[in-house]
C-alpha cells in the first residue's frame, strides 16, 4: 500500500538517525576526556541503538518484504539510508561531539514528545519510551555545553566553534519535504515548524547560560533525510558497521 510505503520511509528516517548517531557515539569509547564520560556516551549510544531497533523493526514489518531490523541496518547501502546529514559528521573534538549530541537530543526531545500523540499507536509507544531516555541525553549534553561554554577561554572557543560548524546542518531537521507533509496530514508526524519553536527555546536557554552566541542563520545543508546526497562520511561508517554482516552474513559461522 502506498500509505504503508510512506510510513516505512518515515520510520527509516527516525531509525537511521538513531542508528548512525549511536554508532558515532560508540566511537567515543577510548576517546572521551574521562572514564565516567566514556561510560556516559556509550550508554547513550546503547539507548540510541535500542531505539533504532524499535524503529527499524517496525519499518521492516510495514515494508512487508521480509527485511528485519538487522537486514535494514546492515544490508542497505549509502543511497538507501535516510539519516540527516548532521549525524553522519565525524565526532571532531569533544566540544563538537557533545554539541552535536545536544542539538540532536533537543530535536528528539521535541519530536518524540509530539509523536506520543501520533495516529500510529505503535510509533507513539516507541516515542513514549524513547522520550524518557532522550530526556537524560539532553540534560547530560546540555550540562556539558554549559560547562565548556562557561569554562576556560579555550573550552569556550572550542564550544563556540563547534556550534558554528554544526549550525548549517540543523536546518534539514526542520525543513519539511513532501514526505514530512504527507505524514503530518495523516496525523502520524507533527508539524516541524511547531517543533522548531520548542527547540529554539530550549537551545537558546542553554546557550545563554553557557555564555555562547547562537550562530547566525545562513545557508543550510540538506540531502540526508531524503537520500538525495549524503556526506562522504556515511560510506565510511557503513563500511565499518556492516563489515561483519557483509563478510560473514548473520555470523552463522559462530
Amino acid at each position: 500500500m502506498a500509505e504503508d510505503r510512506a510510513r516505512f520511509e518515515y520510520l527509516l528516517r527516525l531509525g537511521d538517525n538513531s542508528l548512525i548517531l549511536g554508532h558515532r557515539l560508540s566511537e567515543m569509547l577510548g576517546n572521551a576526556p574521562a572514564l565516567e564520560e566514556e561510560m556516559a556516551l556509550v550508554n547513550v549510544a546503547l539507548d540510541l541503538i535500542g531505539q533504532a531497533r524499535l524503529f527499524l523493526g517496525y519499518a521492516g514489518e510495514l515494508e512487508g518484504a521480509g527485511r528485519d531490523e538487522d537486514a535494514l541496518a546492515y544490508r542497505r547501502d549509502v543511497l538507501d539510508y535516510r539519516c540527516a546529514l548532521i549525524v553522519e559528521l565525524p565526532n571532531g573534538d569533544f566540544a563538537h561531539a557533545i554539541g552535536r549530541l545536544f542539538l540532536i537530543s533537543a530535536f528528539d526531545f521535541e519530536l518524540y514528545g509530539a509523536l506520543r500523540e501520533s495516529a500510529d499507536r505503535r510509533l507513539a509507544a516507541i516515542a513514549e519510551k524513547s522520550l524518557k531516555e532522550v530526556t537524560y541525553h539532553l540534560r547530560h549534553a546540555g550540562e556539558w555545553v554549559i560547562r565548556l561554554g562557561d569554562g576556560t577561554e579555550e573550552s569556550h572557543r572550542r564550544m563556540q566553534k563547534a556550534l558554528e560548524d554544526l549550525w548549517m546542518y540543523t536546518g534539514e531537521l526542520f525543513t519539511p519535504d513532501a514526505l514530512d507533509e504527507a505524514m503530518r496530514e495523516a496525523g502520524i508526524a507533527p508539524d516541524l515548524a511547531r517543533l522548531r519553536e520548542g527547540w529554539d527555546r530550549r537551545v537558546d536557554a542553554v546557550l545563554r547560560e553557557a555564555t555562547l552566541t547562537r550562530p547566525a542563520e545562513g545557508w543550510m545543508q540538506s540531502g540526508g533525510k531524503d537520500g538525495r546526497m549524503h556526506t562522504e562520511h556515511l560510506g565510511y561508517i557503513l563500511a565499518e558497521m556492516q563489515f561483519l554482516q557483509r563478510a560473514y552474513p548473520d555470523a552463522r559461522a559462530w
Binding site: 549511536g22 565516567e36 564520560e37 561510560m39 556516559a40 550508554n43 547513550v44 549510544a45 546503547l46 539507548d47 540510541l48 541503538i49 535500542g50 531505539q51 531497533r53 524499535l54 499507536r121 505503535r122 507513539a124 509507544a125 516507541i126 513514549e128 519510551k129 524513547s130 524518557k132 531516555e133 530526556t135 537524560y136 539532553l138 540534560r139 547530560h140
Partner: protein, 171 residues
Amino acid sequence: MSPGTGPETADPRYHRIWQALAEVEDPEIPYVTIVDLGIVREVVADETGDPVVRITPTYSGCPATRLIELQIRAALDRAGFPHARIETVLSPAWTTDWISEEGRRKLREAGIAPPVPGSGRAALFGAGPAVPCPRCESTDTERIAEFGSTACKALYRCRHCREPFEYFKCL
C-alpha cells in the same frame, strides 16, 4: 485473551507461573528479580490456554532484554509450561515507580540506592532528588556521574561516610 493476572493472583495455575517468574533474576542486577523490577506486566492465556507473559523493557537498548526472555522461557518450561509465549509491550513505558517495595529493599541491601519515587519528570530541570546513601542513610550525597556501570544506574558519593555508591536512576 483472558483477563490479565498479577503476582497476587488466587488462581493456582497462574500462581505457579508467577512463582516461576519470581525466580528469574535480572542479569545485570542479580539481587532483584524481574518481578521485583516490574518488568513482567501481566500474564494472560491465549485462545488455546497457553500462558502469554507480557514484559516491558527497562531501557530500549538494554542488552539484557534478550537474555531475560530466554530465562523466562526456561523457567516456565521447568514449571511445566513449555508453550508459553512472551509479548513485549512498550506502552505504557516502564517506569522505576513499578519497582516493588521488596525490590527496593533488596536494592538497598545490595548497596544500590533505589530510585526516589516520582522524580523522573524533573530529570530535565537541574537539581536532582536528594538520594539517601544506602549504607548510612545520610542525604548529604553528590552525583559523580550521570551514567554508571549500566544504563539504569548513576554513580554517587556519600559525603558523610565517604563511600561511593550506585543509584538506580528514575525513568
